[in-house]
């Protein structure tokens, strides 16, 4: 009755829950074979195989899924499709017939051109990319080295540091808003304002305890025997880090990377506060500022450009995204 596939699955689903934190990437060979992290769900789900054979069940389920698909497309994708259409529609047409599916007065591709050149969306996009790249680098450096110290090297102060990380894990970001701002404007010891410098965004981004903790938990699950073997072969801690731990951690590095990038792309309040020079601002900070002084069509084109990069990035790195957001509910102390 139970096919080998199901047996294998059941076994693995048990080991997932007994690990506590769901890091599917830990069993790397299996993950690679899968096309999507959530596609390996139970074959025997709510609807049993015998139920499946009944036409009424098949039709019912099929219709429900069709409905779900339509709802997802209309509600989830609809607003973005509207944005894509409106971005190439003349402003007057958007005002008069916002829901028209056709172009009454032709498509206005010039919207995109104007947004890119006159509104300088390209320039702000480059700013955003620069900010994202720096934040990503800082976050990855802190998370990998920190996770390595706390999980593998484990000095005596590791426990204290871990405890302090857990304290900050649930600290709402808002508590730090003002003291962080003061830290940037008038840092102690250095006495040089970081206002309008990208360091003001890059460095605080590194203080993400979530990153360090998921990294540490991933390292915790790597086989210790391998570290011992490397040590016996004469690898020092530096060599162990670069040649053993990092290459084995590609899945989690992918997860942390996509989230670092997307989080910074979505960020508004902090860059808005510390980057007051319009030339240095990222696109998300510029958009509200140019909203009032730009033609609607051109403005919507600018918004479309601003969200195309993360959407395309998501579609490419879908696997890392969906794997990572499952982690959201699974951090434990």
């Amino acid at each position: 009755m139970i096919t080998p596939w199901i047996r294998r699955h059941r076994k693995s689903s048990k080991s997932v829950s007994s690990q506590g934190l769901m890091l599917p990437g830990h069993r790397m060979p299996r993950i690679r074979r899968r096309r999507n992290p959530v596609s390996g769900l139970t074959n025997q789900g709510l609807i049993s195989p015998s139920d499946w054979k009944r036409p009424s069940v098949r039709w019912g389920v099929g219709a429900t899924h069709m409905l779900l698909l339509v709802a997802l497309v209309v509600i989830g994708l609809g607003p973005l499709l509207w944005l894509a259409k409106a971005a190439i529609t003349p402003t007057n047409d958007i005002f008069n017939h916002p829901l028209s599916l056709t172009f009454a007065h032709g498509a206005a591709w010039s919207n995109l051109r104007t947004a890119w050149s006159t509104v300088q969306v390209g320039h702000y996009l480059l700013n955003t990319i620069e900010i994202c790249f720096g934040s990503w680098l800082v976050q990855l450096t802190v998370a990998t080295t920190g996770g390595y110290v706390l999980s593998v090297l484990r000095p005596r102060y590791a426990r204290v540091v871990t405890a302090m990380l857990l304290v900050t894990l649930f600290l709402p970001a808002i508590v730090l808003l003002v003291p962080l701002y003061l830290m940037i404007v008038n840092p102690p010891l250095i006495h040089h304002s970081f206002m309008n410098s990208y360091w003001a965004v890059w460095l605080p981004a590194g203080a993400s305890s979530f990153n360090v903790i998921i990294m540490k938990r991933f390292f915790d699950n790597l086989p210790r025997e391998l570290f011992e073997a490397a040590r016996i072969d004469g690898a020092g801690p530096v060599r162990l880090f670069f040649s053993v731990v990092l290459p084995m951690s590609k899945p989690i590095l992918g997860v942390v990377s996509v989230f670092a990038f997307i989080a910074e792309w979505k960020n508004f309040l902090w860059p808005f506060l510390v980057l007051q020079d319009p030339n240095k601002q990222p696109i998300s900070v510029r958009l509200p500022a140019i909203a009032g002084q730009t033609q609607l069509g051109v403005f919507l084109a600018a918004m479309l450009i601003a969200c195309i990069v993360p959407i395309v990035g998501f579609l490419i790195f879908q696997r890392s995204f969906l794997r990572g957001s499952g982690l959201g509910g699974a951090i434990k102390g």
């Binding site: 110290v149 830290m183 203080a207 959201g328 434990k332």
Partner: protein
């Protein structure tokens, strides 16, 4: 304790209360645990720990301590600090805007629960039964999450256009309703914000539920089918109890998130109309950066500390919930 095993000595580190990587610690190791990598690796370890210690020290731990002091100081010009004790807290508590902001935030959180809590759950349970192209479904659900919040808010602001030719008013016009004022209506502004926020965030919750549904033991479904349980009974008696832990976690995460809502009221309505969408976060922002930068920093930190203390309660529940859930 006096052992050559590095892990055992690590275990005792906590009980010894080792706080700082002082010199004494290295000597201790040199004398007692002659393991090569510990003896020679102390400095390397510290170098590896340095990025974490510096970044968190400067941008997390120090500001945390600083905020406690700031909440009891006045900073009229970012240079001089005057100790005022609990005056800031007194000012904030007696500010007539505070009860309004608290009420609005609670209202936002409540509406977000009504709209945003059941939808992802139902969607995830339905999606978990999709046999082909499930990845396509979850990608569709997740796309709004990667759209920058600024873009989604400004986009929905267009949708909420109050004129007859606004997007939503046009749709409602087809069934002869409206036009509604949406964002400039005192009754509709807050629900409008919540609908946008639900659209922007629900996908993330769907994926958390989907990940949790992997963990539901298929044997239970098999057994229930053998016993002749109907679909609803399976949903009610197997799926839901198995998801209980995750449902608590998403609930807490959502409350923590909505209590800090800022972008929607800031970009949609600036707190209006008539302070109907003024949230606690927006009030904190207005204290700190609203009029003249600096003069209200004390008030802002005082209020954020109060908010943090309130949220700490939920964080504790969260920690307990995840612990029991993942040890199941």
């Amino acid at each position: 304790m006096d052992t050559a095993n590095p892990t055992a000595s690590d275990m005792s580190a906590g009980s010894l209360g080792a706080t700082e990587p002082g010199r004494a610690r290295v000597h201790y190791h040199r004398r007692r645990t002659p393991v090569t990598w510990v003896r020679s690796g102390g400095l390397t370890t510290l170098l590896f720990a340095l990025p974490l210690l510096l970044i968190f020290g400067a941008f997390s731990w120090y500001p945390m301590v600083r905020s406690v002091f700031l909440s009891m100081e006045m900073t009229p010009n970012l240079v001089t600090y005057t100790w005022v004790g609990l005056d800031n807290f007194r000012y904030v508590i007696h500010d007539p805007l505070l009860p309004i902001a608290v009420k609005n935030t609670a209202y936002f959180a409540f509406l977000a629960l009504i709209f945003g809590y059941p939808i992802p759950l139902v969607a995830a349970v339905l999606m978990s039964e999709v046999r082909r192209h499930r990845g396509f479904y979850s990608a569709l659900a997740y796309i709004p999450v990667v759209v920058p919040p600024v873009v989604s808010v400004l986009l929905w602001k267009e949708f909420y256009d109050g004129s007859v030719t606004g997007v939503f008013n046009t749709i409602l016009g087809w069934v002869h309703m409206g036009p509604y004022a949406w964002l400039s209506s005192q009754q509709m502004a807050m629900p409008a914000l919540v609908v946008e926020s639900t659209w922007a965030n629900a996908g993330g919750t769907v994926i958390i539920y989907l990940a949790a549904l992997i963990g539901v033991n298929s044997e239970l479904y098999e057994a229930a089918s053998v016993d002749g349980a109907s679909l609803w009974r399976k949903v009610w008696h197997i799926t839901m109890p198995q998801l209980r832990g995750v449902m608590l976690v998403t609930l807490i995460l959502q409350i923590i998130g909505t209590a800090q809502v800022f972008l929607e009221p800031y970009l949609f309505t600036q707190g209006g109309p008539n302070n109907k969408t003024l949230t606690v976060m927006l009030l904190i922002y207005q204290y700190a950066f609203g009029s003249s930068v600096g003069s209200g920093f004390g008030y802002a930190t005082a209020l954020s500390l109060m908010l943090a203390a309130f949220l700490a309660l939920f964080s504790l529940i969260y920690l307990r919930a995840t612990r029991s859930w993942s040890s199941e």
